[in-house]
Amino acid sequence: MDVLLQTLVAGLLKGGLYALIGIGMTLIMGVMGIINLAHGQMMMVAMYLTFVLFTFLGLDPYFSLLLTMPALFLLGAAVQRWALNPLLKVESLLPQNQVLMTVGIGMVLTEVMRFIFSSNYQSLKTGYSDATFFLGQISFSVPLTIAFLVACLFTSLMFWFLLKTDLGRSIRAVAQDAEAAQLMGVNAERIRTITMGLGAALVAAAGTLLLPVYYLFPDIGKPFTTKAFIITILGGLGSTVGAILGGVTLGLAEALGSTFLGMQYEDLVGLVIFILVLLFLPGGFKRLTKV
């Protein structure tokens, strides 16, 4: 019983971070209509940035959030502005060709980081990396709990932004009907640039929060791109609430898989859930939530 509860807690905490990764990807999916296959690689860049800030300047990762998020916002916005928006202007190209561009960008980011930092594993040990506290019999990792709370905070802010501000509404409007949004005076190109920036900033937050309990090497982006992809599909492409459910589901599935089947099956369980959802709930959780 305790083992189960312990596993669920661990899965939930991880799920919070996954939700953050998934919301960024989902926003991009909703507005641009494409899967961003450089999503995990952007997270990897944020992790290296966090690593450098810690190693050379002694900056605490939680403080680094204030730098990595804006930095990745700029990176994401620049990618959209100079690499993806121009593709939309070429009429002979299908919009889906942007996906190929994101694959290329992911590779470039990976190889640039390999060039700078080599392929070696790095990690960042803070005083609290291994700290835990107990509630009853259940142990909570301090950094993962903080990460979970910060993820909840950013998720709530994101909802407030999307629902209550003109810019947020404009992002939703472009996602629903870009041409109608333009007729309302929305600069759709600018909205796409901002959305990619926001998606990158959110996944940067996840990377920075994860680093104290994780390890880092240039190829770490790809598995996280896969996870982001799974979360987005689980959620029902483009649904923000769905992405949260998808993130938590993946977190729980991985935790249950590694506890009850063995560490090596962690990813397998996520993929099985993914396939089951595709088979029995095509359209993902959006079908259940309608948001």
């Binding site: 003109d166 109608a180 309302m184 005076g185 929305v186 600069n187």
Partner: protein, 242 residues
């Protein structure tokens, strides 16, 4: 607002427009004068929506000019057209279906001058359409066709435009509701708004407008006052079925 109904606010001067290689507008020219209701009629596929989309800068003409209040606007972006005071209630309403009615109205007032008066304008729109006030928290996509058309018009009015273009506002509405919508267009026009109305409901619109143009296969073929066109043999035969 005193209206002379003489001076042109919008002049479309010989525009050609194509989708890719397929040209659909040929040297289309017309003008909309301050304070009037100008009607553009034409059969399905004549190019009416294409004309409005070109004025809104969703499409750009390969030849010709579009001049609004003396300024060429054919090279501007859609949001710049809005900021100058030209708004559109598009064909098929094009509401943001997953947003509430109120959010749709807010989306209508993004231009700086409209945003500054947002609250007032919204009260005015709710007075024009009390039904929208009742439904303001409802997702626009779940409303009836008539309610959606009201919301689309309300959203257009929220832009506080100088010129408001309507693309077939009577599409899919009952005769009673169509009557109501046309009365409303006359009312906002009487309050000083210049109107460019695209319709297939030819009889009704020619009777209520100041002037009209007839568009056929992408070309302007006739123009005159509403009464003149109602009496024109070609119009009577091709559009009124008499």
């Amino acid at each position: 607002m005193p209206t002379t109904k003489q001076e042109a606010v919008l002049r479309v001067e010989g525009i050609d427009v194509a989708y890719g290689d397929v040209q659909v507008l040929w040297e289309v020219s017309f003008e909309v004068r301050a304070g009037e209701i100008l009607v553009l009629v034409g059969a399905n596929g004549a190019g009416k929506s294409t004309t409005l989309k070109t004025i809104s800068a969703l499409l750009s003409p390969s030849a010709g000019r579009i001049v609004f209040q003396g300024q060429p606007i054919q090279a501007l972006k859609p949001y710049e057209i809005l900021a100058l005071g030209v708004a559109q209630v598009p064909e098929g309403r094009r509401l943001f279906g997953e947003m509430t009615v109120e959010e749709n109205l807010l989306m209508g007032s993004l231009s700086p001058h409209a945003k500054a008066k947002r609250k007032q304008t919204m009260d005015w729109v709710y007075e024009l359409f009390p039904r929208l006030r009742e439904r303001r928290r409802q997702p626009a996509g779940t409303m009836s066709g008539g309610e959606q058309q009201m919301a689309a018009i309300g959203r257009g009015l929220m832009a506080l435009p100088k010129l408001l273009m309507f693309d077939e506002p009577s599409l899919g509405l009952s005769p009673l509701l169509t009557e109501h919508i046309f009365e409303l267009i006359k009312k906002v026009n009487a309050e000083g708004l210049t109107v460019l109305l695209v319709e297939q409901n030819v009889h009704h619109t020619l009777a209520m407008c100041d002037r009209a143009y007839v568009l056929e296969n992408g070309r302007i073929v006739l123009t005159g006052s509403g009464q003149e066109l109602l009496a024109n043999p070609h119009v009577r035969e091709a559009y009124l079925g008499v």
